[in-house]
């Protein structure tokens, strides 16, 4: 019989819950507790850091916040131990969300900067705890706090709590892994800006993941405070805690919900294996050596190594699902009705005026060509409409709603999709997942199953059906351009912004692409496309807008506009008088 992962978790959990009744030496409970605690820490860390790629070095701070919450509440306010655990989780989560609320707003604080910032938070917190009555320097003893009996006896309480937390954490990690939240986080991992533009509310998702991650670590800290019964700053906020957590997760594999748990088990057992008193120093060196060897030969972690294509296999089995009927975007014929109106849009980048009071109008159902020399502001305009940059002044009204200043994911949800000139697929997601994501997060807002059939439809449409299970890295440029297109279409946009989809393609590929774009328009989409390939522009556009130095210098029917002297001047240089 095949069991689902939650069933496995429940089964293993039930089995382990009976351990206290076996009359095994209590040591096993204590040892398993250490593993559970490590599993909670590593897995909770992974919910933010593994899934979304925001490597936190501050997990010790949240673990410690939980420890000190329980320590303070039990010893100073005499609150029963179990009641302090939710508080430990909440305090840690508040701390995390507080940090995240500031940090996640800043685009540059990714990668190692985020890691270091969270480490700094740890040290700041340590200093505050040490110099305030929370600790004060003498440590907080919990030896006098009573431990309630859960299941068999008080001595098994910590075991049971540890087990429950480990199961809960694994279940949460698993659920997120499969949920929309997980998909969004994995997209953030690969390319946060693109994720946002595809409709992923990145800021909120990061905050939720961080909050959950911290809350779980906080509760684990609360339990651990009781386990060690004496809490000191030096031990709690040491750099070794985050190092170990990162180590466990990476060793197990950060891209799988179970990876950190595997790593936590292996490392805890390994460290414990070298506690014999005879050659402790050699034992410690052996742990270091094993670590190096494992990382060198399994850079994706144990799970990354042993079940790398598990997902792929599962996907292949479902590949037979019937493709949905043509999910036509709003079937509206070209009309004179305005879909998007841009008024006086200006944007400067450190003094350079990229857009200077541009006015553009896009009508429902038309193909609008956006042309102009390099640096004229075409790509900036696309970036502004899709919400990637904030505007300095002006307004962008889409279907009667001012979308200027909205975060990019809201713009996407409103029905604007875009492609990138240089394709930016999510590198670690399969082609199918790449296209499924916008169908889930964009205007279509479909459930996972529906989104997948939607994605298959557009893969078929763009000729990528064969590649559904491939990673984007395996595609050639032409295919990657079409992947961009498929992603944009899968969100069922009302307005499609195409940023130089044709550049870099061979003439034959260009013809194919032109045909495809025409088909898209025939399906009823409104298209704005930026292009340098002039014959495509002339062939496809209903109208064109010419930009120069951030200003609109002409607009109208293609043949007519391109004959205007000011446009000719821009393209061919000033005619000598």
């Amino acid at each position: 019989m095949k069991l689902s992962a939650p069933a496995w978790i429940a089964l293993v959990g039930l089995g382990l819950a009976t351990v206290p009744f076996f009359g095994l030496p209590a040591f096993y409970e204590s040892f398993l507790y250490l593993i559970f605690s490590a599993i909670v820490l590593a897995t909770s860390w992974n919910i933010l850091s593994g899934y979304s790629g925001y490597f936190s070095f501050g997990h010790g701070a949240f673990f410690g916040a939980g420890m000190y919450t329980t320590a303070t509440l039990t010893s100073k306010f005499e609150i029963p131990f179990l009641w302090t655990l939710p508080a430990a989780g909440i305090i840690a989560a508040l701390l995390g969300v507080g940090v995240g609320a500031v940090v996640f707003r800043l685009r540059r604080l990714r990668g190692e900067l985020f890691a270091l910032l969270t480490l700094a938070v740890t040290f700041v917190l340590a200093t505050i705890v040490l110099n305030t009555p929370i600790d004060g320097g003498q440590g907080v003893p919990l030896t006098a706090v009573t431990l309630p009996a859960i299941l068999s006896s008080p001595s098994s309480t910590l075991y049971v709590l540890g087990l429950a937390m480990a199961l809960l954490t694994l279940w949460i990690a698993y659920s997120i892994y499969l949920a929309k939240l997980g998909t969004g986080l994995f997209a953030i991992h690969d390319d946060e800006d693109v994720a946002e533009v595809m409709g992923v509310p990145t800021y909120r998702y990061k905050l939720i993941a961080f909050g959950l991650s911290c809350a779980l670590a906080g509760v684990a800290g609360g339990i651990h405070a009781m386990f060690i019964s004496y809490v000191t700053v030096g031990e709690t906020f040491s750099i070794i805690v985050p190092l170990n957590v990162v180590l466990m997760s990476v060793l197990g594999g950060t891209r799988h919900w179970l990876g950190p748990a595997v790593g936590a088990t292996v490392i805890t057992a390994l460290l414990y294996g070298f506690t014999a008193g005879d050659y402790p120093v050699a034992g410690r060196a052996a742990v270091g050596l094993i670590l190096i060897v494992v990382i060198l030969f399994m850079p994706e972690g144990l799970l990354g190594r042993f079940i790398p294509r598990l997902e792929g296999r599962r996907r292949k089995t479902t590949a037979a699902t019937p493709v949905a009927a043509a999910p036509a975007p709003d079937a509206v014929q070209a009309s004179s009705e305005t879909l998007l109106r841009i008024n006086g849009l200006s944007k400067a980048f450190s003094g350079v005026q990229a857009l200077d009071g541009a006015d553009v109008e896009v009508r429902r159902g038309e193909i609008l060509g956006l042309v102009g020399p390099n640096g004229s502001g075409k790509s900036t305009l696309i970036n502004m409409i899709s919400g990637h940059f904030r505007l300095d002044s002006g307004s962008i009204v889409f279907d009667g709603v001012d979308i200027a200043g909205l975060p990019a994911h809201r713009v996407a949800q409103a029905g604007i999709a875009r492609t990138y000139q240089i394709p930016r697929p999510f590198a670690h997601l399969s082609v199918l997942q790449n296209v499924t994501l916008p169908a889930m997060f964009g205007r279509a807002a479909l459930g996972r199953g529906a989104a997948e059939s939607e994605a298959r439809y557009w893969l078929e449409f763009t000729g990528l059906a064969e590649k559904a299970d491939a990673l984007p890295g395996e595609l050639n440029l032409h295919q990657r351009k079409f992947l961009e297109l498929a992603r944009a279409l899968a969100s069922r946009p009302r307005l499609l912004l195409l940023d130089e989809v044709l550049s870099g393609l061979t003439p034959a590929e260009i013809d194919h692409a032109i045909a495809t774009i025409r088909t898209i328009r025939d399906l009823g989409a409104t298209i704005v496309f930026v292009e340098h390939v002039m014959h495509a522009v002339m062939e496809l556009s209903d109208r064109i807008v010419v930009l120069n130095y951030g200003k609109v210098i002409a607009e109208g029917k293609p043949e007519e506009v391109m004959r205007r002297p000011e446009v000719v001047t821009v393209y061919l240089g000033k005619p000598h008088a």
Partner: protein, 285 residues
């Protein structure tokens, strides 16, 4: 509270500058390999302490002049750095995995140190240990001054090397865009070996300075990580002068907190400084 005397302020300022220069010196190699090789080399600290213990051994037991020990330590460490980079490129290790591999290496080196020298404290006796001179009412101890001079010299010459020599320009190009650099005939792999060797040598030099002024114990390896990382980050990755300046800023800020407020709050100042810089700095690292 009485107003602190000018001597106290001056002496604390010096103290901050001196320890800051050691932060900077430790951060120099770290910053180079981080910024230019994309490696977060935790083992840099372990290497520095290995260097310190070797200096201790050659000086206290072998009777060498501590400065001369560099003649032995520098080439050995250079070779070690080259070997490490060879290993890293052979296995094409990602930045975060480099952190883990070098953590493993740190643990091994720590164990090696403990095995040879035990975990008990060691303090090097050297001719420089007690030398100092006086400027007005301020004392300038020679070991610390040496550290400052070494840190400034190394940082500046690395800066000059990267900025003015062809070799340095090639290194920077390779760090910026390996493919384009390769297209221009830069042997990126060789440069990486050289750079890593250089970084490890700097660790050895920092070790000498540690041995000159500090009591050694293996677990001290971890004590420097936080604040030196802060100096490297504030100073800018791959920037050869940044860590020194940032290190001194941190050192002085901490020393002033100690002199004027309470030593216990000093870490708050340095790490708040880091957080502030990270939050407000406009340019990318």
């Amino acid at each position: 509270m009485n107003f602190p005397s000018w001597t106290l302020l001056g002496q604390s300022l010096l103290s901050g500058i001196f320890i800051g220069s050691l932060y900077g010196l430790l951060g120099l190699g770290l910053s180079l390999s981080w910024g230019m090789l994309r490696q977060i080399n935790l083992a840099h600290f372990a290497l520095a302490f290995l260097g310190a213990y070797l200096t201790f051994q050659l000086t206290s037991v072998g009777g060498m002049d501590p400065l001369l020990t560099l003649g032995l330590i520098a080439p050995a460490f250079f070779a070690f750095g080259v070997l490490m980079q060879w290993l890293f490129s052979r296995f094409s290790i990602s930045p975060f995995n480099s952190l883990l591999v070098t953590f493993g290496l740190t643990v091994i080196i720590e164990s090696l140190i403990q095995w040879i020298w035990t975990a008990d404290y060691r303090k090097m006796d050297s001719v420089y240990g007690e030398m100092k001179f006086k400027i007005g009412s301020l004392y300038v101890p020679l070991p610390e001054l040496l550290t400052l001079i070494i840190a400034v010299t190394l940082s500046l010459s690395t800066w000059a090397l990267l900025r003015y020599t062809d070799l340095g320009k090639a290194m920077r190009a390779a760090a910026e865009d390996p493919q384009i650099a390769a297209a221009f005939g830069v042997n990126e792999k060789r440069l990486a070996l050289l750079l890593s060797g250089l970084a490890a040598t700097f660790a050895g030099v920092a070790g000498l300075c540690l041995a000159l002024s500090y009591t050694l114990s293996p677990s001290q390896i971890y004590a420097w990580i936080g604040v030196v990382f802060a100096a490297v980050m504030i100073g800018g990755l791959g920037n050869p002068i940044g860590p020194l300046i940032a290190g001194i800023v941190i050192g002085v800020a901490e020393a002033m907190t100690m002199a004027l407020i309470s030593p216990a709050w000093a870490p708050l100042v340095s790490f708040s400084l880091l957080i502030l810089v990270l939050l407000t700095r406009a340019d990318k690292v």
